[in-house]
Symmetry: C2
Subunit: 124 residues, 2 copies
């Protein structure tokens, strides 16, 4: 079971890597066989190559994350509410999102799922 | 697929039922075969009888919920951040939680999972 410290480190490492636009630091948080579903209902990315391609797209928008409350840890999961600020179709936008990470014993993310929809995106 | 309106109605119905301490109104939000895992990692409650017993315990604490941001809808899920205010061992307490609901086409909750740990509980 991952520790609370590992779960919080994954969340803060993720936010910090976005702040630097450091795609490789994001990828390094994930297990080699991890899955990413962002948002839920869209095709799942599997493994470092697909995950890298996805986050290269994200960091290219200049997306920065701001936590909107404390991370919630339970068993091998952590969930956290945050705002994403980015340029979307030439417009400054903010999206309120909740992500869940499931971690392995090494503290690597094995499953990421993102909860957000069009009604969570606003001009900002 | 449940609509955004159904997902938001489930969240607001849940908060409102806690405000009234109305266990039956909570149970009525769930499908007959739904599961509740609160917090994740604890034994799963299945079906209306087990779900009723669980929420009778919750409403007996006087627990009231306050949304801490907008619900996030994606596919058949909705996730929402909130605070629970309750009496815990004679002490007024607040817990910051994230719940996820998965809904069926009738707008009933088929799966509820709650993310929170001891570090999210504070005097309040």
């Amino acid at each position: 079971m991952p520790t609370t410290e590992q779960k919080l480190a994954a969340v803060h490492g993720y936010v910090d890597a976005f702040a630097r636009g450091d795609t490789e630091a994001i990828v390094a948080l994930f297990d080699a066989n991890a899955t990413v579903e962002d948002p839920i209902g869209t095709p799942i990315k599997r493994g470092h190559d697909e995950i890298r391609a996805f986050y290269q797209g994200s960091t290219a928008t200049g997306a920065k994350l701001e936590l909107l409350g404390e991370p919630r840890c339970a068993a091998d999961y952590v969930a956290f509410p945050f705002a994403v600020r980015l340029e979307w179709q030439g417009q400054k936008s903010v999206i309120e999102v909740i992500d869940t990470f499931r971690l392995n014993d090494e503290g690597k993310i094995v499953e990421m799922r993102a909860y957000w929809g069009p009604e969570n995106m606003k001009a900002g």
